[in-house]
């Protein structure tokens, strides 16, 4: 390292860099960066037949998610399960919030953390999805409130017809973009800490829904 750079360093930083450099100085035969195709880490067997959206829908259900095609289906699901009140991203008021209200559900468009237990469902926008893994992509730029996508028992990720569906995990990594926070959600929150028994809904949603247009439902279902 040059002197100017070294001077600007804190003592701890200097100490660590010095130790790392000393250790590596005499290392024989350093490992080169291997070349590889992204395809080597793609589970191609999970891609199956159909469009990326259809593959995503099938894989999302395979990891315990639930795909709903129409907002009416969502309203019925919430009513049937006594999830009568919740939050909806104000940007989705017209498309989702209002129809839910019409169906008799109580919908808030502002998330207040002190009332987090009152929101039994939370509707937020998904930035995209990953077909290979059945994950929804939540990018902070699109998520109206991180907590609204996490604290309600039911999280509804709304994937509009123009939302990007990446075919593979490497595709999704290449598309991470500049957001300071991107999270891939692959099924409901879960644990197997107690005797290895799978329990869903630990700190996040126990039910993870993806609301996506009807003609995108998997073929043959």
């Amino acid at each position: 390292m040059d002197e100017v750079e070294e001077e600007a360093m804190s003592p701890g930083e200097r100490e660590i860099f010095k130790a790392v450099e000393e250790s590596l100085a005499d290392l024989p035969g350093k490992t080169p960066l291997p070349e590889y195709e992204d395809a080597v880490c793609v589970a191609s067997g999970r891609l199956g037949e159909g469009t990326p959206r259809q593959i995503f829908a099938a894989n999302f259900e395979a990891v315990g998610g639930r795909v709903l095609a129409r907002v009416e289906d969502l309203a019925s699901f919430l009513l049937e399960n006594d999830h009568g009140a919740g939050y909806c991203d104000p940007a989705l008021k017209g498309a989702v919030g209002a129809p839910l209200e019409e169906a008799g559900l109580k919908v808030d468009y502002e998330y207040e953390r002190d009332r987090c237990d009152e929101y039994l469902f939370g509707v937020t926008l998904a930035s995209g999805a990953i077909a290979e893994s059945g994950s929804v992509v939540l990018n902070d730029d699109d998520t109206s409130d991180r907590l609204a996508a996490l604290t309600p028992w039911v999280h509804v990720a709304v994937l509009p017809s123009e939302g990007a569906v990446h075919l593979t995990i490497p595709d999704a990594i290449a598309a991470l973009g500049g957001s300071p926070n991107v999270v891939w959600v692959t099924g409901p929150s879960k644990t197997a800490d107690v005797e290895g028994i799978l329990i869903e809904g630990v700190h996040g949603p126990g039910v993870q829904i993806c609301l996506m247009p009807v003609d995108d439902r998997p073929a043959g279902r």
């Binding site: 804190s10 701890g12 930083e13 100490e15 660590i16 860099f17 130790a19 790392v20 450099e21 250790s23 590596l24 100085a25 290392l27 350093k30 960066l33 291997p34 590889y36 080597v40 880490c41 589970a43 999970r46 953390r113 002190d114 987090c116 237990d117 902070d140 730029d141 109206s144 409130d145 991180r146 907590l147 996490l150 604290t151 995990i169 490497p170 990594i173 290449a174 500049g178 300071p180 926070n181 991107v182 999270v183 891939w184 959600v185 692959t186 409901p188 929150s189 879960k190 644990t191 197997a192 800490d193 107690v194 005797e195 290895g196 329990i199 809904g201 630990v202 700190h203 996040g204 949603p205």
Partner: protein, 462 residues
């Protein structure tokens, strides 16, 4: 009774506990290999690739570390450097104090276990609460985790229900769903009532400065979403060269750890939240931890730094399955712990020098390791180091007479040919019940001592 310290510990465990750790390890190991075989034509090639990428990153850590630090700073992350565990504790406590934090929630992190962060914060008046269900139970029980991924693999539901009752989390109920719901309710208030979130980090991309963090429960996401201050403690060995390399590691990590394709919440954290977002940290600090990692980089055990903390070697290890994690007397148990603990102990190497001997060298750990660490080789190197440093071997069976014979060519030849007399023994008529039982299903081969030496001598040199 003879045996190494780990044998004594294993014998002291209740049978039920040994059985459950063993069964759980077997189930996860099977799940791991099923999912890998289902998804990849050649899972071993993928493991080798991951090992090469990580070893490359380690062999060039000076460059990648510089790159990662520059990127993180560019992204608005404040980066701190902790040469020792003590430095890391001091830096983290200072950060919390400077920000007036009295209550903090923490996601699961082996690095924070390694530096014993919780005790230090508690001793200095900061309440640091574990939020991973298993780690939370460990914390209220004043216990320590016994597995990298499944911290309470050594506890059953009855013990958990009893401690929930003792800590006012509800009347005795050992239903795992009830236990989880109660923890959800209890911890929710803590997430929202704290002032900072502490996490570890699974990977750090040098290319983008992105910190990657995975949890199944959503607690790391919650710790960050609910708080305006995020502090991540990250070992310097967590760096990978590029974002695209994350595809290889994430695919292997979840499958190796829990037989999942991906962990439920896979977070890519570039920095503090944007100003117009309502929830999330306004400030993000990354504390880079050395704690002897830089020393290991150039050592003959440097491959251990590839470890991505998946726990697969623990699940498959016949010794771990019998002894469970606490038998290893350190933060990291199982095969990876048998290598790491003596090395991280520094001057106290001798205290942990028995751990590399707690292995049959069967090689199963190497076969499952997602980054292809030659663990059995490293165990042998550490055994060798212990012997060179004259550290007394505790509890290992004495090789006394064998050693004398094996180190003298004359005695060895005599023993080899002399033992042919054994072939004349009428063993079917020796009245020892175990021997006769054994002979019902096995045949003792004829003694052919010395054949190997003959073969070696006759072999033409190339």
């Amino acid at each position: 009774m003879s045996g190494q310290p780990i044998d004594h510990y294993a014998r002291s465990l209740p049978r039920e506990r040994r059985d459950s750790v063993s069964a759980s390890g077997a189930v996860t190991t099977q799940g791991r290999s099923d999912v890998l075989a289902r998804d990849f034509e050649d899972p071993d090639a993928l493991r080798r690739l991951a090992g090469q990428i990580k070893q490359h990153a380690l062999d060039h850590l000076d460059d990648y570390l510089r790159q990662a630090v520059a990127k993180m700073r560019e992204n608005g992350v404040e980066v701190h450097f902790a040469p020792t565990a003590e430095d890391a504790r001091t830096i983290m406590l200072d950060l919390l104090r400077r920000n007036g934090v009295g209550r903090v929630v923490k996601a699961k992190s082996m690095a924070t276990e390694e530096i014993h962060l919780n005790d230090h914060l508690a001793a200095n008046g900061v309440d640091c609460l574990e939020t991973d269900l298993g780690e939370f139970i460990v914390q209220i029980d004043r216990d320590t985790p016994s597995h990298i991924v499944r911290p309470i693999i050594h506890k059953n539901r009855r013990e958990i229900a009893e401690s929930f009752e003792a800590h006012g989390l509800g009347e005795y109920d050992d239903d795992p769903a009830t236990i989880t719901r109660r923890a959800r309710r209890h911890l929710r208030a803590k997430f929202l009532g704290s002032q900072a979130g502490i996490t570890g980090g699974n990977f750090l991309s040098a290319e983008s400065g992105r910190l990657v963090l995975v949890t199944n429960e959503g607690n790391a996401r919650f710790s960050m979403a609910a708080n305006s201050l995020h502090i991540a403690l990250v070992g310097i060995e967590k760096i990978v060269p590029r974002d695209r390399d994350l595809g290889v590691f994430l695919n292997l990590l979840a499958r190796s750890a829990t037989a999942q394709q991906l962990t439920v919440y896979t977070q890519f954290i570039g920095g503090p939240k944007a100003a117009n977002r309502p929830s999330g940290p306004e400030k993000m600090h990354v504390v880079l931890l050395d704690n002897r990692r830089s020393e290991l980089l150039g050592s003959n055990c440097r491959e251990i730094l590839r470890c991505i903390r998946c726990g697969a070697c623990q699940n498959v290890c016949p010794v771990y399955r019998q002894a469970s994690g606490h038998a290893y007397r350190a933060v990291y148990g199982g095969p990876v712990g048998a290598v790491l603990s003596p090395l991280l102990a520094g001057d106290r190497f001798a205290e942990f020098a028995d751990l590399p001997k707690a292995s049959s060298l069967c090689g199963a750990c190497r076969e499952v390791c997602p980054v292809d660490i030659p663990i059995p080789d490293l165990l042998l190197r550490l055994r060798n180091r212990a012997s060179e440093e004259g550290i007394e071997s505790v509890g290992s069976p004495s090789m006394g007479a064998f050693a004398t014979v094996a180190s003298s060519p004359v005695l060895w030849r005599l023993a080899m040919s002399g033992s042919r007399a054994m072939n004349l023994l009428p063993i079917e008529r020796i009245p020892a019940k175990p021997l006769q039982e054994w002979l019902k299903v096995r045949t003792l081969p004829e003694w052919r001592g010395g054949e190997f030496r003959k073969w070696m001598k006759s072999r033409k040199k190339p």
